[in-house]
Amino acid sequence: MKPAVRIMVVDDEKIVRESLSVWLQKFGYEVVPVEGGQEALNLLDREEWNILLVDLKMPRIDGIEVLRKALDVKPGIPIIIFTAYATVETAVEAMRVGADDYLIKPIDPDILALKVQKIIEKQNLADENIMLREKIDAIYQFDEIIGNSESLQEVLEIVGSVAASDATVLITGESGTGKELIARAIHRNSTRRYKPFVAVSIGALPDTMVESELFGHDKGAFTGASHVHMGRFELADGGTLFLDEVGDMSPKVQVDLLRVLEEKACYRLGGDRKIHMDVRVIAATNKALKKSIEAGTFREDLYYRLNVVGIHLPPLRQRGDDVFLLAEYFLKKFCMKMNRKKEGFSPRVIEMFSRHKWPGNIRELENAIERAVVVGKGPLVQLQDMPFGGGQEPPEEKAAISLREVEKKHILQVLDETDWNVTRSANLLEIDRATLYNKIKNYGLSRPEDRR
């Protein structure tokens, strides 16, 4: 049960404070009549109050003084000053010091009831807001990000340190590695967490729509613009804008985006009013932007503007045992969602988890397990439940290939598995680093992100 609303009525005239208290008690409030300013301040310090109703003219400590001292002790406590001797000066003074209202005696009962009710409604909303914020805080930690691998822990460390700042972040990583999840984690752990998180996949939008989507348009900006449309930047005001697939932006959009990031303001299409906004941008791409810069398809200045802090998400195949933790997590999630019961994975499935290269990364794993929960029978997920047709890797090319080709493929595979750590690869291949560098050069090998 909610505690009763507590109101203190402070007036030196007994009949006034008592009659008002009796009147307010009929609303179900707990009302305490108090004779003087000092007594009111003592009580204020000792007990919790929702509202103070204070007479302006009292001996020793007057209403304004009570107001001033009360706000020192309990900043923000709602105080209504009332008086039979109203002057413009005292009204201005009361409001300036921080009174919620200034009422003239005798007070219209309807007005007083309404003022008190409004204050209580406001307090209830504020309480509800605090409760909801606590709920949000409890829900959104890093809970959705599963894994113990060193590479992921490094990422989470950066997320933790970058969240508090307003720095622009560029998240890179193969498709399906969880870039949006990391962006959300940054948002949820930042001071912007109660403000909007707006995600927009630029690559998914036709070039002609990108500008309208990002910056909005005014009515009549183009044929069919029948109403004002707020852009994603405006919608994210105060919060975080997640721009996915930034590697696919046209040169024109790149210029516009750069200008918005620099000016922290934009114009809607067809609009002449500059709209200022406070938005933190987190960008993501699965493209090798440096390569795009060399090719002249991505602006270098924009790259540096976005990549204030860079976070690279490792592909699933480089996250060691994380694949098992993730698989368990998804199994539980889908069993709960579909009301199925699965105890775990068969040994062959577990063996397949570490053998498979997961080109689609976590998204592929998630989809595979969703499918297995849908189609599988029995308590364990079997290999035939997985989408790879009996758990076999796609058949290797069987055609005879040269020794040179075999060597090239093998070196590439080792490099990929070590995330292109040349020293570790050289150790595994039992050759020295210089030799490995030469072979990389001779075979024209490149990192996975540069092969796209």
Partner: protein, 194 residues
Amino acid sequence: MLPYEPPGKFCIVSLGNTPDDVEERACSAVRSCFELNCEILCPEPRPEFALDVSRDQYNSLEILDWLESRFPRPDQWILGITNVDLAIPVLTFVFGEARLKGRSAVISVFRLREEFHGRPADTMVLLSRVEKEAIHEVGHMLGLTHCLDRNCVMYPSNSLAQTDVKSAKLCPGCRSNLPPWCSAEPSDPDRAGV
């Protein structure tokens, strides 16, 4: 005061002249809403003792004190009805006043009359308002506080619009908060109109 005992006697008394049928209507409303055995006493004089000359209004709390001393039996509950304009020092007016969980209440027909608002007299409207105000104040005597349900008779009315919009009935929530011995069924509107 609580713990409640049902009143030995619930009485309605006019303080000065009141329009016809007002006491009867209040009495039947109290009877049907709360199943209280209600009787009408001989009228008492206008409550001049409570007049605040500077405001030309009558202090409702002083009237409650007077009612309790004029009818001192602790098991006698009393609802005064008056034609004078009631107020408490801090408010511009009150339609009525009751001791919360107490044995005295008073209502005024002064502002319930259509004439007060410059409209032609309407007895039916006046009696309907008297009924609601009487039930509302007796509800306070029985420990009910104001209700958020706009249709409930315990909804606070500080204007006639609020009085006219609400019904003369208690909402189920307020009804369940009545003392156990006050187990009346919801009032019958036809009966209330007697």
